[in-house]
Symmetry: D2
Amino acid sequence: MNLDPDLFPDAPDDDDHFHDECGVFAVYGHPEAANLTYLGLHALQHRGQESAGIATLDGAGKMHLHRQMGLVQDIFSPPVIAGLPGNIAIGHVRYSTAGASHVRNAQPFAVEHGGLGVACAHNGNLTNVEQLKAALDAAGSIFQTSTDTEVFLHLYARAPAGPIVDRVVHALRQTRGAYSVLFLVGDTLIAARDPHGFRPLSLGILNRAHVVASEPTAFDLIAAEFVRDVEPGEVLVIGPDGVRSLRPFDPAPSRFCVFEHVYFARPDSTVNGRAVYVARRRMGEILAAQSPIEADVVIPVPDSGVPAAIGYANASGIPFEMGLIRSHYVGRTFIEPAQSIRHFGVRLKLNPVRQVLQGRRVVVVDDSIVRGTTARKIVKMIRDAGAREVHLRISSPPTRWPCFYGIDTPTRRELIAASHSVDEISRYITADSLSYLSQDGLREAVGYPGGDGFCEACFTGDYPVEIIPAERLAMPRG
Amino acid sequence: MNLDPDLFPDAPDDDDHFHDECGVFAVYGHPEAANLTYLGLHALQHRGQESAGIATLDGAGKMHLHRQMGLVQDIFSPPVIAGLPGNIAIGHVRYSTAGASHVRNAQPFAVEHGGLGVACAHNGNLTNVEQLKAALDAAGSIFQTSTDTEVFLHLYARAPAGPIVDRVVHALRQTRGAYSVLFLVGDTLIAARDPHGFRPLSLGILNRAHVVASEPTAFDLIAAEFVRDVEPGEVLVIGPDGVRSLRPFDPAPSRFCVFEHVYFARPDSTVNGRAVYVARRRMGEILAAQSPIEADVVIPVPDSGVPAAIGYANASGIPFEMGLIRSHYVGRTFIEPAQSIRHFGVRLKLNPVRQVLQGRRVVVVDDSIVRGTTARKIVKMIRDAGAREVHLRISSPPTRWPCFYGIDTPTRRELIAASHSVDEISRYITADSLSYLSQDGLREAVGYPGGDGFCEACFTGDYPVEIIPAERLAMPRG
Amino acid sequence: MNLDPDLFPDAPDDDDHFHDECGVFAVYGHPEAANLTYLGLHALQHRGQESAGIATLDGAGKMHLHRQMGLVQDIFSPPVIAGLPGNIAIGHVRYSTAGASHVRNAQPFAVEHGGLGVACAHNGNLTNVEQLKAALDAAGSIFQTSTDTEVFLHLYARAPAGPIVDRVVHALRQTRGAYSVLFLVGDTLIAARDPHGFRPLSLGILNRAHVVASEPTAFDLIAAEFVRDVEPGEVLVIGPDGVRSLRPFDPAPSRFCVFEHVYFARPDSTVNGRAVYVARRRMGEILAAQSPIEADVVIPVPDSGVPAAIGYANASGIPFEMGLIRSHYVGRTFIEPAQSIRHFGVRLKLNPVRQVLQGRRVVVVDDSIVRGTTARKIVKMIRDAGAREVHLRISSPPTRWPCFYGIDTPTRRELIAASHSVDEISRYITADSLSYLSQDGLREAVGYPGGDGFCEACFTGDYPVEIIPAERLAMPRG
Amino acid sequence: MNLDPDLFPDAPDDDDHFHDECGVFAVYGHPEAANLTYLGLHALQHRGQESAGIATLDGAGKMHLHRQMGLVQDIFSPPVIAGLPGNIAIGHVRYSTAGASHVRNAQPFAVEHGGLGVACAHNGNLTNVEQLKAALDAAGSIFQTSTDTEVFLHLYARAPAGPIVDRVVHALRQTRGAYSVLFLVGDTLIAARDPHGFRPLSLGILNRAHVVASEPTAFDLIAAEFVRDVEPGEVLVIGPDGVRSLRPFDPAPSRFCVFEHVYFARPDSTVNGRAVYVARRRMGEILAAQSPIEADVVIPVPDSGVPAAIGYANASGIPFEMGLIRSHYVGRTFIEPAQSIRHFGVRLKLNPVRQVLQGRRVVVVDDSIVRGTTARKIVKMIRDAGAREVHLRISSPPTRWPCFYGIDTPTRRELIAASHSVDEISRYITADSLSYLSQDGLREAVGYPGGDGFCEACFTGDYPVEIIPAERLAMPRG
């Protein structure tokens, strides 16, 4: 029995990528806090297109909240922003999994407790949320959503009496898993990252205002300066007296999500100290060295495959071309037409440039393969456009395991690489050859040749935070 | 500090009436449960036009919920109803106070607890809600709304382990004030009325399905049969095995809201065993006897004043006419035009029939006067239409005290009868004479000449359930 | 072949009345012209609920137009009115026939011709519109709508060069049938009524501004004064130099629509010099004299039957009661629920008051019977509520013929009185007795005992303006 | 005096490009005609984002029409498509000039004439439209829009009696300027291109159905095959008996718009027999030869500058990189925030990749400069990201003259190259150097080294069809 009938959506995402589930943004101490947060969320839109929300605290201590389904630019019209006064704001964008869309699950989540408004915005995924919910339920808590964020707030509310920061730390200590989380409690903004630092979180400054964002590219848009990443296990407390840093957790090895480099983060971002564009181009260069092929042209699957394709072309000396054109008018709301003509599929998004492909031996560079269905369509499309050979190069290792730390992935059953060899996948997608970047190659590209400091569970199944076995086959909560 | 900036709206309701704050409806054991609930809520629309909601339990034990701002017929389109499967449903309509409109406060309120969906819909007002919230907050509960309903659910969740019904009774026992409340917990429907029975609640039957409604008129629309009123202090438990009746509270004197007879209930309803139309007509007859006047015509303020005006006309022998015409296209969303021409006011709703009024001595019958502003406009409108004399007759005693049991009333400061004599009010509204029905007259009309069994606090200030003094001047929560 | 697939809607109107097809309103010379027109249209909302529109002329000679489906109060929000600047405005409300709803057919209709904006708003129906369209089409005109209004504008544009007024008169002269029509051409407002004067049109004054409306009740709302009716065959020209009256047509006998008195006009209106409320009450009085019956109670079918029922009760001495309660939350958009429970029908609008009806001999007064289906349901409902006898009294003669002059009526086939005797109808609707007001009775009630000056074609089939035979069985255009 | 207050919008387009004003698509003889047209329009979305529309003819000879403001995928939901039955469809997308947005101007435009539905969809611009409108107006035509399309239909309606095709040709013969136009009259589809062939138009085939589109890339999406371009001056008549080709106009030199190659057409299209991607890449190659520079990196202004930048990089041997990232969540509806923080400007669309630019000598390739304001912002952004030098290369000659043949361009006053030398422009935009592709270079790239067959008026002011002098400084109609 469950309140949310859409908890386990089964409709596969039609662009066949893993997807980040959230982005967060905060401003402390600026009269245009909601406005800036809206711009920051706009820059983080790629991390979540289902819903967005902003909570602000006004000068009189009142909290204001607006959450809605849709894109940031459609939600935050001037009247909506005018209804979000105050110098402090936290914001959130949420990913649209195929079915679980409901404004009830939109963030920030806000409640009243102890005479204060308390708001929370979370990017990540707690692995012990079922146990925590069961214990809270037994103790008389009631749940309105299926979000981790509500659990955070229940834990906060039940923390021993004491200063706000202690209560937040008490709540965080009980959780396991991945979180880059923001709390707005009274006039205090708290930004925390789990001890392994799965998901990114950065601190910036805009004149005298402090800003926090999932990726520092969001600072560019508002002309704020990047200060530094919030560190794994760090709790930043931003209040009227400035910023304090706490380290309330036991030390743990850094486990930053390597897929942020492969696909999630924007190419103009720098995460975990490494420029994303440069890392992706480097993946392509190493891939060219590891899996060379005689060919006439290198083309990316746009837009995400572009930097790696440039790297592959540069390293191999094979000319780079845009052999596939992506339509930018395809939104998430696109409704395909009647069954009788619905075989068009991926053509709505991608179309080949025949003159680039005809009679050529083509290297196609993409960042990953999830189910293989889209890759298969793309290979067919390129071949139909006249390509003589189609060689697919993937700028990351095979994705064999679902993620439980804040990424929307299908179950193992659906991950083609979980049950098929590279050769089998190559045959399935009808490519002339298929190669993946090696794990060592990826490590080198993201700047940790020693192989430490990253979470690679989706490639290896080696989960840094224990997952309850039964869950390993199920979809995480989001 | 408060989450809801609109908690204490100050904009007076423009039709200057007391207003019921809610209506509830439930179906147990019918395959069209949501459909029937939608029709039932439509019949109860007069009890609340702000928002409406339905929660259903489907055969697989899943709860489905839809709540929205607006009128029942605009909310429950066929696709919405199709999304509410199941044999059990509870529904709610909520009154639109001027400012506190927010879908967050719409009902039913639904949460998950103990592996079950728990939904609650409430008509009434708890008088000890602040104390309960403070205690729950201190124990770690978090609040998302400013509704009594959320308090009910917190109390339920914190009740000692035990059968569902015991937990609900445990929750109810801690509350004070007025409630006609529905709980849907798992496959059990519980309908309870507070020991004083302030607000109405009736049981009906439709083939083998059980139905519950705030007023039995809602049964008419779905061709269900009225069985009996739920009694004050009674808890009805409707489950797979039928209906059980519990009496878990200490006995208390019946205190049914007399204003349901005066204005709230539909004229085609029967509440507390008395047909509303007949009671209102009788109010007019007694009023004619108590406050006779020589006049040429009796007119009602439509629509609520019609039965009493008919009674007054019958008893006095003065002809009944419709001297004021009410526009039925004026909704709550009506936006008045620019300041420069906004003196039209009440004309948007009412317009006089000059030929009925010109040169006549007119008796105008209305059910109550709250602030006096509307009455003053009506008297002026009738006089401007050529009436020679205007005598206002009110079919209830002067309303001098705010209600704390589920009715939206202004503070004492705004109640004109709280600080002015009948003569002063008559002068303010510029009537040639003004008379109210006496308290004894009202008692006789509603069929309890002995004067017992009803709550008359709005006339007398004699509150059956103690109100904390500080609150007596404030607006109740809604 | 036709542009409009909904030209001949076949869904019967669910409240089984004839319906007016339009209302018009204009303001000349007031800085709040759009605002006042919006209020005026609101007062005329009963004449058309499908769509509404306003065209204004601003100080720079630009025309502004807004038309939309829906109710006046939902369409004309402050921003919409702000987009309609100027001192001159014409407005229109249009009736919602079941299927032909399309914003393309909304009025005013506006075009550009001769360097001027030309707008037109029409209440009525042209009988030679097919011939005019055929001739215009042959001459190279193109049609975007199925409205008479577009025909008016084509005729205007093709009139011989000359002053604006001459061109408008030239256009009007070519038309046959019913029109109360407004033209806004440059800074001139022209209000014209066809020679027979089928539909009403009145002139009023507000300070120094002139106002025109389908019914003078619209003046009340804006505190304008009624000046006089525009006369049959009169063309009023309102310009910067004041009001001129022209009589450009051959004299014709007055043929005012008697059904405006029976049902269409608001009860607080005065049309054709006679107060509608008084006429209706008189219909009831005469009906009581013509068709007396021994009974215990007289009840109206609300709201339209109320004045006649009061008249019947007064004249017969039988007490008047509101035995049927009308829900005012049923809008035109009401969607009935699933087939399995849709037999509720008229209950959504009307509900009986059992205590008024039980064991009684009941006289029910309504204004007309169209198809008989609703009357049958009402009789059954009253009998089910316990009435001993049900006697239906209709305050107009049997409606046997469709209207071709601006009223939405079904074809003869659907008019029950066209093919059935009063006795047969009485049996069909299961009444104990049924009587209609006689034609002479109606003439007396509306103040023309001589029987001249009115159009009674719907009762007699005696059409004042010739109808092409083929059309007599079809639905008029709207 | 004008009906349309927004005829001459003054707000500059924020991405500072010329813009195509329309795209057209048609299907003849397919049961899913509306569905396929919707997909075709989706593929042509880049040619117009303001509004879209589809008209269909059903089997019973009825025309159905749906037009709406917005993007194709938001407009044509399944119910809307279901309301467009039939085997023949024509569709249109219209460009959103800053202010003239009104659904009244959306296309196809449809009327009824001669007992037939007549619909028209037009890409282009008539240069003698004012004279035509004046003459039609004098002859009694009325105008509801400010579009050329309505003029086409008036001319058709006034053509001498005769076969449909003759009437269409008669209408076309009276017009001057640019048109690729579709007529749907009865069951005949007519596709015509003006004698100079300014705008593209192609014929395709899908099984036995005929399809017509502004660009053949639209055929890809529906898996139709490209047959050939409709030729300049050709009129294709598609009817039940197949396709006929007429040449009813005097021969005229081909004047295909060269800017379709530079910017308008999709890179995956082939127009005028030349693959657009290849032409653009060649522009970059020639530009590299004509204007070499020592640099470290070549970057495009995405997305339109990508092929030329690849060409420039290939030809110069300087590495190609994506140094600017484009946000794909910026729609046309984006509302910039409050004044106080609105200096962000172009950052919402483009963001630099610092690691690609820092310390580098950067060649930036774009397709054109209109006002120079955006180029200036981009140069600054690249320099702020640390570039040592910024050299701007434009893959077309300076645009010095407005277009009157269907492209939305600013007046000469606003075109920076109309009044400034290349050096002055270079200083204004603060580039280290600026070069444009020469006219000869462009001719070579698009495959007509002889320099004939294209319209180059925006570079040369040499207008193939005479423009009335007064109009040369004004904005064309759209």
